[in-house]
């Protein structure tokens, strides 16, 4: 039995496929769309279509980009001897926001998770090893790879996997530190973070 006219049901069903959208949200979005004037809707439709047509993955680092290679990979002011490996494009944005990292990136588009059938072959890893050779990197020798995957069991396994892959090559492989958020009061840090911060303490 159809709750609404067929086109409406169809729209709700399609919206429900989006991550984080359940039946109620889909219904609300569908009704919003129906009430939206057509010219406004066109803007949305164009934006959706453009993102598919104009965005590609950077052939060097797998970042989302309009031009290939991406701005960061093409930049001469970046340090191409340091590569920061991240899970998702938005993790890269988080590192970029610090403005203190001057190296380049490698985006994996995921992390190892056998339960979700994501093995090493499903990650965008194939183009990482070739980048490490100077002849494929504008003559620059890569000196360090920073593993900035998430502090989850999956992120950790991914870092372990890449670490094992790179260690024999003799370059410096580092893992980002875990611990206290800066600028917060000790009181407000959860026990797990505090525990990690304590065991990763350093001498001053």
């Amino acid at each position: 039995m159809l709750e609404y006219a067929e086109p409406v049901t169809k729209l709700i069903d399609e919206l429900k496929r989006l991550p984080g959208i359940g039946h109620k949200s889909a219904q609300r979005l569908a009704f919003h769309i129906m009430r939206t004037p057509e010219n406004e809707l066109d803007r949305l439709l164009t934006a959706v279509r453009d993102v598919k047509q104009r965005i590609v993955l950077c052939s060097v680092c797998n970042n989302l980009t309009e031009i290939d290679p991406c701005r960061i990979c093409a930049s001469t002011s970046r340090d191409h001897s340091v590569i920061c490996v991240v899970e998702e494009p938005h993790s890269m944005v988080a590192v970029e926001k610090t403005r203190s990292f001057k190296g380049v990136y490698h985006v994996l588009h995921g992390s190892l998770s056998p339960m979700r059938h994501i093995g090493p072959n499903e990650l965008h890893l194939a183009n990482l090893l070739p980048r490490l050779k100077p002849e494929n990197n504008d003559g620059v020798e890569v000196s360090e790879v920073i593993l900035a995957t998430n502090p989850t069991t999956e992120g950790e396994a991914t870092a372990n996997y890449i670490g094992r892959l790179l260690k024999p090559l003799g370059l410096l492989v580092t893992r980002i530190a875990m611990g206290m958020p800066v600028g917060s009061d000790l009181e407000y840090v959860d026990e797990v973070t505090m525990d990690k911060a304590l065991s990763n303490r350093r001498e001053i």
Binding site: S113, M115, P120, E154, E156, A157, T158, N160, D195
Partner: protein, 380 residues
């Protein structure tokens, strides 16, 4: 810490407020009147979970759409906090002093140890229940330990999936080892943490155990690692790594993870014999009580604070003699809540305890009904 009062609305068949005594609280009533519901309410207030059901919706009184359990906890000299758990359809909200609070910050405000029917698996059931018992104990000392265990379980799940899928793919052992390596690396670290924490906790329990509170036969416990007898356990990480290498073909053939603390157990012996197999029901119950009492002592010496102790159905399988020893032991140590349907079993303690008569979920306050008590006693 002391629970001063509990106020309940529409939680199962309960509504109303009970002021508790700081020592022994005896909840008495016929079957089906709601004695255990009061313990469940206290447990919910402490852990935001029930010991009877996973589905908290079931605890909302039929026909109502929400329920709450609130209470005041006193600790230190003059510190009082009002806790409140509100259940509405399938959501749960928690508050301290009227303000919403995150779960991680809420837990621990009211620490409860409970002796309930679902805990009997610790002395009767499979090793899993005993591992849970130790893990809960460790977490009562160090809450961050919960994360270690959940990370470990997740790593095991991921590893199991690789091994399961491999049963169909039949990769070479070298290939399989490559796939497993990033998970085994974490497994070893987390396993070592868990092993160390559990051994340490078992040691603490052993030091506090009142071995022969109930009977002359002594109760002994020992953490029994699945790596016992396989090598030097003092270098746990090294040994586990070695065993993982060695047993790779076995894990490949079995299609699941065979090594790690998820295969460990707590050995519980009474008079030198395995309690789970040879103990009588009464002996098993008594042993579980001893383990609970030890866990309370360990908590007490770690935090310098007394948790609450809930004992459901104290008279089931425990004779009067054992109940008397238990209550004498608890007297002056920790705020205790026990339910019983047999008044005669606790008769000797009534003058030293607060006794609550429960009928149809409602409680009659001790101060208010002293005369009623003697009247009931006279009629008995």
């Amino acid at each position: 810490m002391i629970l001063d009062f509990v106020e309940v609305d529409n939680f199962r068949n309960l509504s109303g407020k009970i002021f508790w005594g700081p020592g022994l609280n005896i909840i008495h009533g016929d079957n089906g009147q709601g004695k255990t519901n009061w313990l469940e309410a206290i447990h919910l207030l402490s852990r935001t979970k029930s010991f009877r059901t996973q589905r908290l919706q079931e605890t909302i009184r039929f026909g109502q759409d929400s329920a709450f359990v609130a209470g005041r906890v006193s600790s230190g000299d003059d510190l009082q906090r009002d806790l409140r758990v509100t259940l509405k359809e399938n959501t749960k909200s928690i508050a301290v002093n009227g303000k919403r609070e995150q779960l991680t910050r809420y837990l621990g405000q009211l620490q409860v140890f409970s002796f309930t029917a679902d805990q009997l698996d610790v002395v009767r059931g499979m090793p899993e229940a005993r591992r849970h018992f130790i893990d809960r104990g460790v977490a009562s000392l160090r809450p961050a330990y919960v994360r270690t265990v959940s990370d470990y379980n997740r790593v095991i799940k991921q590893k199991n999936r690789i091994l399961q899928d491999n049963l169909e793919h039949n990769r070479s052992l070298v290939e399989l080892q490559d796939l497993l390596a990033p998970w085994n690396q974490q497994l070893v670290q987390l396993a070592a943490e868990i092993h160390e924490a559990r051994v340490d906790y078992t040691e603490r329990l052993n030091n506090e155990l009142e071995r022969s509170l109930f009977e002359p036969a002594e109760l002994h416990i020992r953490y029994s690692s699945s790596l016992d007898g396989k090598g030097d356990l003092s270098n746990y990480e090294g040994l586990l790594n070695e065993r993982l290498q060695l047993r790779l073909p076995a894990e490949a053939a079995a299609g699941r993870a065979l090594l790690g603390p998820h295969r460990d157990d707590l050995a519980v012996h009474l008079a030198g014999r395995e309690l789970r197999v040879f103990g009588s029901s009464g002996q098993q119950r008594s042993a579980l009580l001893l383990l609970d009492l030890a866990a309370i002592s360990v908590y007490n010496s770690w935090h310098d604070d007394r948790p609450l102790f809930l004992v459901d159905d104290v008279d089931a399988e425990l004779d009067e003699n054992r109940i008397r020893r238990l209550l004498e032991y608890l007297e002056g140590r920790t705020q205790t809540f026990i339910t019983t349907s047999k008044r005669s079993h606790v008769e000797g303690f009534i003058s030293r305890a607060n006794v609550y008569e429960i009928a149809a979920g409602q409680a009659v306050q001790p101060e208010l009904n002293r005369s009623t008590f003697s009247a009931v006693a006279a009629n008995d």
